[in-house]
Symmetry: C2
Subunit: 354 residues, 2 copies
């Protein structure tokens, strides 16, 4: 018998919120019913509030990547030029999506772990139709000041649209659309909303709504806009997850400020424990979504993973060029301050065991 219960310490999927579990335990809903429409509207209203936007949030059945592609597909035409600062797996994904959809991409490559300095914008040669930014680059644990980046970019390219990956910042770190000069953003259900994976969120400011150039079929946001106001969706939605998201938002939003403080405090405790135990952090500016530490000299990722697994915990390693070089531990899921103390202790024990 293990004295530890299984525990997901990964930056998505995460431990589910009890309101998600409760919603998911209900009998199957049909999406074309009043109850389903009520839940769909509640989820969308909650997401709009979480995102601080007067625009719209569209709920898509797909991963966060589907929401990212939907934004590029619907906001830019082939041949248009976008700036993508690349400093991790997810910012790299923006560049790949834009290229796959026929856009011209200017990449500014930075070392993985770095955040993007707003001064970088000064050296850019226009024209640009947009910038694709990453708020919380969870492959490295880095946070970007997307507000400063958006403002710097728009000061030079006022007609451009600024789109941000907020996949692991929504409900984890403060976020905003219009107040920050962000025109559109994406996230997904298995991150800060503490639900199972399967929904992508596409947030559009009023400015972005006025600039839609829909393409494709399944990810055509104009089709979704027409019907989501009524709590419907263009295609059969993962309605069970919509109900779960509505439940979680109903519980978290009234205490959002406290919730974001908790996430910041938890992350600080985990970094403090790891650094105290001798692990070197990967990011320069730390996102509350996940900690990321370099593997100590001579230690393989499998050893660290196994040391956590012995204590019931599932963690995750590096992606892309950081594969085999780092490990990541996250309390983005349902967890409180006790959990942070417990996981801080696990980190110390793991460090001592290596």
């Amino acid at each position: 018998m293990s004295v530890y219960r299984p525990r997901l310490l990964t930056p998505g999927p995460v431990e589910l919120h009890p309101k998600a579990v409760e919603a998911l335990a209900r009998p199957q809903l049909h999406h074309r019913t009043d109850e389903a429409r009520r839940l769909f509207k509640a989820a969308r209203e909650g997401l709009k509030q979480a995102w601080n936007t007067q625009g719209e949030v569209l709920v898509l059945t797909g991963s966060g990547t589907a929401a990212m592609e939907a934004l590029v597909l619907n906001l830019f035409a082939p041949g248009e030029r976008v700036w993508v600062p690349v400093h991790g797996k997810f910012s790299e994904r923006w560049a790949e999506i834009a290229e796959a959809l026929g856009l011209e991409v200017l990449r500014s490559g930075l070392e993985y772990g770095k955040s993007v300095p707003p001064e970088l914008v000064e050296g850019l040669q226009g024209p640009f139709h947009g910038a694709l930014l990453t708020h919380s680059e969870s492959s490295t644990g880095a946070l970007n000041d997307v507000k400063a980046l958006a403002q710097a970019f728009k000061a030079r390219f006022p007609d451009a649209l600024v789109v941000a990956d907020m996949v692991t910042s929504l409900l984890v770190s403060p976020v905003a659309l219009e107040p920050w000069g962000i025109d559109a953003a994406a996230s997904g259900s298995q991150k800060g909303t503490m639900c199972p994976p399967g929904l992508g969120y596409a947030a559009l400011s009023p400015r972005a709504l006025g600039r839609l150039k829909p393409r494709g079929y399944y990810l055509d946001l104009a089709k979704e806009l027409k019907v989501q106001g009524e709590g419907e969706s263009a295609w059969t939605p993962a309605i069970n997850l919509v109900a779960a998201v509505a439940g979680v938002l109903g519980a978290v939003l009234p205490e959002l400020e406290d919730h974001l403080c908790l996430k910041a405090k938890q992350n600080a405790l985990l970094y403090e424990a790891g650094e105290g135990a001798g692990f070197k952090p990967v990011p320069e500016v730390k996102s509350p979504a996940t900690t990321a530490f370099y593997l100590p000299e001579g230690v393989k990722y499998a050893q660290v993973k196994e040391a956590f697994a012995l204590r019931g915990a599932t963690i995750i390693g590096g992606q892309g060029v950081l594969k085999g070089k780092i490990f990541r531990v996250s309390l983005m899921g349902y967890s409180d301050l006790y959990d942070a103390y417990a996981v801080a202790e696990l980190i110390r024990e793991v460090a001592a065991s290596l």
Copy 2:
């Protein structure tokens, strides 16, 4: 107090299989773990067996429509020409998808409710790169002989690819890929596999696998093919649903023949009850996925819906041109012969109450 428990009698979403409920009640899985990979492989192997193919079935996080778009996107290039016989909302969807993706579409329009006569192929003027067929047109309740259609089409256009919407026939009616001359097919989780909505399945015969021309990003099937063999997916999958599908297939496939007999028998009982009570069936050739009856003269859909709702049952009306003209009742979800007798009785009671 109602003497009826709530019951979904809609052609998707449907009443969940207990193995789905069981899988969905487990703690959140991380998709990059051995357990998740084992379940992902089990779901894919089961779907390949269900589809009777030596090719591959790719599991996508999205609706059945996403799987349909993925097939058109990856098997045809813009400007290529496809034949789409249109006789319901879902065959219409094939035409819309192909047009949205830049294909040239030849529609053969038939009255809603009709099935497509294979002789229609004789009059077609080529060239064609493919045909997009609908096996079970659940908007009208009609079944097509897609085997005969595929054979007739390939006799005239041997290089063409034949793609079929098998969204409501997989695990409901016998299906096959290569043995029927079908190159690719789509379905989704909330139909015959009796799980919540959120997964689309894209089945590809060996011939289709040799003809992939990937486009786009999220629905790029070449990316999925590279990793799904190992139980991974290109993007974060709705892994909870994958586990549910694996559980249901493990229970249903060993008794598939009996299961398909049950579905046929249930549907026959419901049609018998409805016709006996004076309702006129919509389809010429009946699919076991759903019954579809015309509303009697002077009766509004809302009355029929309400009469079923009083008895705990959620049914659905018509779509597209059949909206306000028909109603549909389905036992595609988890149900047995007792349920069919009970629902047959409901149909008789509803008819008597109008």
